[in-house]
């Protein structure tokens, strides 16, 4: 049979199998913590582990700070570049892409060299300082995603005219950004935020080399020392990512309700 319909279904089925078989296998494996029966024992072990809760909480908090920092840096920058410096856009875009090109290990070694205890700004000397450094690093990692999301959001509204309309009515820059720009790119901001969240929750290199009690190193440690729990953990991590994805979709749909018709 050579009908295109058949082949598109075949491709879909192959794709689904390719993605879901390993997941299904892992899920099945994660249920076998008790000999001879399926149980949620491994999940109970993971969720009951105080280290799981501590590291997860740590990473969630780090992710929230990263999102706030990312939005504070990216939103005004992208806005200003679009409004006043459109010729700089390719340059800015290139800069935001650098974290994808430079391996995290290089970035983190650079950080450690720059901010070690004998440097001009000894951030790694204290736990708070190291946490700060970690959030900076995460913000860098998330930069390509955050910038792209925000820039796409800005493209969908006529920011130049809206800004002038607001200025004409007496609004200053702070009002324009908080009351006009941010609400209008909210759905893009949210999708950038959840991408950031997903990245930070699973990040290993930064957290391990800066020696922070984050969720990524915990997962790796678990993988090296337990049998069934890592599978359960992986399923949980997947679940978190998927929830994030779902929320992004939802945000995009919510945003559409008040979009201008063109």
């Amino acid at each position: 049979m050579g009908s295109p319909r058949f082949w598109s279904w075949a491709a879909l089925v192959a794709g689904v199998l390719y993605f879901f078989l390993p997941l299904a296998g892992m899920f099945e494996f994660s249920l076998r913590a008790r000999r001879g029966e399926y149980s949620l024992q491994a999940y109970a072990n993971v969720l009951g582990d105080p280290q799981f809760r501590d590291t997860f909480l740590y990473s969630v908090v780090a992710a929230l700070f990263t999102i706030v920092l990312g939005v504070l840096i990216v939103a005004p920058t992208a806005f200003w570049v679009r409004l006043k410096l459109p010729r700089l856009r390719p340059v800015i875009e290139f800069i935001t892409l650098l974290p994808l090109v430079i391996p995290p290990i290089v970035i983190v070694f650079g950080y450690i060299r720059l901010y070690n205890t004998s440097s001009w700004l000894p951030l790694t000397g204290t736990a708070a300082g190291t946490n700060l450094l970690l959030v900076f690093g995460y913000a860098t990692l998330a930069l390509p995603y955050m910038y792209r999301a925000v820039d796409t959001g800005l493209r969908s509204i006529d920011i130049a005219t809206l800004t002038e309309a607001a200025q004409g009515m007496g609004a200053g820059w702070f009002t324009i950004i908080t009351r006009l720009i941010l609400p209008n790119i909210l759905s893009s901001l949210l999708s950038g935020a959840f991408l950031t969240f997903a990245i930070v929750i699973g990040e290993y290199v930064f957290a391990a080399l800066l020696n922070r009690p984050a969720f990524g190193p915990y997962m790796v440690w678990m993988g090296g020392n337990k049998a069934y729990e890592p599978a359960a953990l992986a399923v949980i991590a997947f679940g978190i990512t998927w929830v994030c994805m779902g929320v992004i979709q939802l945000a995009a749909r919510l945003g559409r309700h008040n979009r201008v018709q063109r």
């Binding site: 309309a165 607001a166 200025q167 009515m169 609400p183 201008v260």
Partner: protein, 349 residues
């Protein structure tokens, strides 16, 4: 001193001068249109008044106060854009209230003003809608209400009607003018549509290549165009080539016809111009310029019938009123047309 005073305004982008030595005085409550072809600098003048563009040189004063150094949000100006520019995340009422909120007007006064504005534009019940739920005409009316809510010193409209379809354009321009009269707000209206400019303005500024070619009432602009450009840009114009045979008495020869215009003319060749409605069918008292012409095309426009005729080498358009008892001539007819010398403009050759 006029309420809005623009003097020797200039603007260059790089090496191109887009506005040149632009002067304009507008009285309080006056409605002035900037009319001109695309790219002649209308928007640039408006944006300099609003403060979005910094003049290269020149002065702008509003109510006796120099505003050049003021930022747009300090100039107290209402602006309406071609693309409406309503804030998509805010409802109609919130859009109108935006400027009031920025000015920290108390909530109850604000609500009252919003109601008043929505009533003014004739959309009292649409306060809770979002912009995307409105038609283009409604959106532009909301934009007008939003601009007027803060009681600006000056209202600036940049081609507010050109995104709308013809019927709404005509009714909305009348409504804009009515509201402007009611509030007595000083207004600059930018358009490239001459009918629009002539029909609603107290005065019209005809611009060309960054220069104000003529400033005058619609009557003056139409009947006494100061330059060749104004004459040709505004309305339809018949151009008649003529040889001056007696400069002192202004006697000219058109084809084989000789006629005196009764005013001195430069020697040589001149271009005479007249409106279609100044050309009549048949001879008449006081219209000594008589030409034989052959009717080319007959356009029935309703109250008016526009005839195209050829008189020698001169193509003429003439308008006659439609009278049910007088059928218009047909194509191919040879007719006599007459023009009064007083209706002839002399354009420099």
């Amino acid at each position: 001193m006029a309420f809005l005073q623009i003097a020797h305004l200039e603007k260059s982008f790089g090496t191109t001068r887009v506005v040149r030595d632009f002067d304009l005085s507008i009285e309080k409550g006056e409605f002035v249109s900037l009319l001109g072809p695309s790219g002649c600098g209308k928007t640039t003048v408006l944006r300099m008044v609003a403060g979005f563009e910094t003049p290269s040189s020149g002065a702008i004063a509003i109510d006796g106060r120099d505003v050049i150094a003021l930022r747009p949000n300090q100039r107290h100006i209402g602006m309406v854009f071609q693309a409406y520019a309503l804030f998509p995340n805010l409802t109609v009422a919130e859009n109108v209230a935006f400027g009031l909120k920025v000015k920290r007007m108390p909530a109850d006064l604000r609500a009252a003003r919003v109601r008043e504005m929505l009533a003014l534009i004739g959309l009292p019940d649409l306060g809770n809608r979002y912009p995307f739920q409105l038609s283009g005409g409604q959106q532009q009316r909301v934009a007008l209400a939003r601009a007027l809510a803060i009681k600006p010193h000056v209202l600036l409209l940049d081609e507010p009607l050109s995104a709308l379809d013809a019927r709404i354009r005509v009714s909305l321009r009348a409504q804009i003018r009515e509201i402007q009269r009611e509030l007595q707000i000083t207004t600059i209206f930018v358009t490239h549509d001459q009918e629009e400019a002539l029909s609603i303005s107290d005065r019209v500024v005809v611009m060309n290549g960054g220069v104000a070619e003529q400033v005058g009432t619609p009557f003056e602009i139409y009947n006494r165009p100061a330059t060749r450009f104004v004459a040709q840009f505004v309305g339809t114009l018949n151009l008649i080539e003529a040889d001056v045979i007696a400069p002192a008495t202004g006697t000219v020869r058109i084809g084989t016809t000789e006629v005196s215009l009764g005013r001195p003319l430069p020697a040589g060749r001149v271009t005479l111009a007249c409106r279609p409605e100044a050309v009549s069918l048949g001879a008449a008292e006081g219209r000594p310029l008589l030409l034989w012409a052959e009717i080319g095309k007959v356009e029935f426009l309703g109250a008016v019938i526009r005839l195209r005729a050829q008189a020698g080498r001169t193509a003429l358009s003439l308008d006659m009123f439609n009278r049910p008892d007088t059928p218009p001539p047909a194509a191919g007819d040879r007719v006599q047309v007459s023009i009064s010398p007083a209706d002839l403009l002399v354009l420099e050759a």
